[in-house]
Amino acid sequence: MTAAIVWLASYPKSGNTWLRILLSNLLAQAEQPININQISLAGLFPVSIQQMSEATLIDAALLRPNEADLLRPSVIAALLTGVGREAGDQFVKVHDAYRFLPDGTPLLGRDVARAALYILRDPRDVVVSASRLYGLSVDRAIDVINKDRYLRYRVDRAGTQVPQRLLDWSGHVRSWTRQSDVPVHVLRYEDLLADTVAAFGKAVEFLGLSSSPDALATAVRHADFKELSRQEGELGFRENVDRAAGSRFFRAGRAGGWVDVLTPAQAAAIEAAHGEVMAAYGYL
């Protein structure tokens, strides 16, 4: 039995953190909600510059994005080996688009993952969430999701993560939903919000994790938005690294809030750029 990765994949600001908190609570089956600063779903963090440096024996912060890309498959394999054979499923968050290197090797490695959950969210809400959290204007946030870019690519200060190429929002969704290397279960943030037990339950079943209805209901309760917001208020949320001053990570937890924020022109711009994928997933 070797350890295998389960990718928890998403474009940023699409519900990945909430999904991980749900999973964390389900696996722990504890009496109290898990501390949001102590989510521990895997023994490897493949985008960590530190872990990449240890695996490659170089200062990974010196690599250009395309150079780092070339090392990703072998680093993921090395880190997974390092976790040990008996370690069980490694639930690893990933924002990278599902891509291939020039020689055809998947960026995320071959034969390292047994499954993936891909969570997506209405890009109009992604834009609003990004603009609030990163302190960007809405128009700037729209530019951001329309661009093929590397997340976390820093040239002005030491980055803590390896640059992760996202493609634009539509490219990201297609890359994960159309790949056939890793069985993938797609879930919409909106469905998870509307009926968490049902939507999360389907994901849990897809992953082959056994869980009683009680355990599922408890995990959902422990990951309730009010609880997460309360914890952030009390303890801070250490993953909230990109925040503009004073902004909260667990901010609103709503779906469809874009209607109150985007102008008709802004909404139209997003729909023009991403309409095909939006329609495919019921957003139009």
């Binding site: 510059i49 530190q50 440096s53 240890e54 695996a55 490659t56 024996l57 170089i58 200062d59 990974a60 912060a61 010196l62 690599l63 250009r64 395309n66 150079e67 070339l70 090392l71 072998s74 680093v75 394999a77 090395a78 040239v155 002005d156 200060r157 030491a158 980055g159 803590t160 303890l235 801070g236 949320f237 250490r238 993953e239 909230n240 690294v241 925040r243």
Partner: protein, 304 residues
């Protein structure tokens, strides 16, 4: 031209190595850096990692699309850039990983640390990549400390067993915002890699002698997302220090794969009786930099 790097005399004909200070010391050559063909993998390697292989006294690094490097028996580094790659782009990896391998092959204790001198003693600032070692060292120099090294602290005992730190021969390497913040723009040199706003910065003076190690500082980052509070220094009891220091060895897995676990243990245990170990906790924000530097210097000056 001979360079002094980590206490070794190095000749690097045809391989540009920027960010080193000038050396006039006439010495026999201990390490040669050359351009040449390097295989992808060492045949019969005892250990193979994601980018590297070890076979006896040979270490090979292969970075696809960038370079290959072979380090032999502590005295030779052979570099082969990938097609279309300028030799200068390989220099940062030669100076860091290449020399880490040289030092481990020579059984010399090397910590990943920036080092300054205060009140006659060398202070090694340890921490992982990106922790802010170089930046803090430059800030300490702005407060009057002298600069001994930016990246690797090599530690060798003198005749009486006292740990002595050797200069690594490197200039400061600082991000553009730190250069501006510390008022060092007139000393700014080449970028560490093109496209990165991290630069070599000449120190105000170069010390080319070894000095006794007095203090080791373990840098810890406080998350900016949690409650803000001023920098804090904590004395680390010697009993706790050994495993912490073991983690500060430069590229420790390389030393382990060369079979040096026992040697490292003995070397680190040997320095513990001579040094004070402190932990400095602060955010990486530049606003904490001066406060952290002043706090550290006053703490070092205070008797234990």
């Amino acid at each position: 031209m001979l360079h002094q790097i980590c206490g070794l005399s190095v000749v690097a004909d045809g391989v540009p190595l920027p960010g080193l200070w000038q050396s006039n010391i006439d010495h026999h050559v201990e390490v040669a850096v050359n351009i040449g063909r390097v295989p992808v993998l060492l045949e019969g390697a005892e250990y193979i990692g994601s980018t590297w292989s070890v076979r006896g006294q040979d270490f090979l690094l292969c970075l696809p699309g960038l370079m290959r490097m072979l380090v032999r028996a502590g005295h030779e580094i052979i570099v082969e850039p990938a097609a279309g790659v300028e030799l200068a782009e390989t220099a940062p990896f030669v100076l860091s990983t290449g020399f880490a391998a040289i030092l481990h092959q020579r059984h010399i204790l090397a910590l990943h640390a920036a080092t300054i001198v205060w009140q006659g003693g060398a202070v090694a600032i340890c921490g992982p990549t990106g922790a802010g070692k170089s930046t803090l060292a430059a800030a300490l120099c702005a407060e009057g400390a002298a600069f001994l090294g930016d990246d690797i602290a090599t530690i060798r005992p003198d005749g009486s067993g006292r740990p002595m730190v050797c200069p690594d021969g490197r200039q400061h390497r600082l991000w553009a915002d730190a250069v501006a913040y510390l008022g060092l723009t007139d000393r700014q040199g080449l970028p560490v890699r093109s496209e990165l706003n991290k630069f070599h910065v000449a120190p105000d003076r170069e010390i080319d002698a070894s000095l006794p190690l007095s203090t080791i500082v373990l840098l810890e980052e406080r998350s900016a997302a949690c409650q803000p509070s001023p920098p804090e220094i904590i004395d680390v009891p010697i009993v706790d220090a050994l495993p912490l220091l073991r983690r500060q060895v430069y590229r420790p897995s390389l030393a382990e794969r060369m079979g040096h676990e026992g040697r490292l243990f003995t070397q680190i245990a040997g320095i513990l009786g001579h040094v004070r170990v402190l932990r400095l906790e602060r955010t990486r924000d530049l606003v904490d930099l001066k406060a952290g530097a002043e706090l550290l210097l006053s703490r070092i000056a205070r008797p234990q």
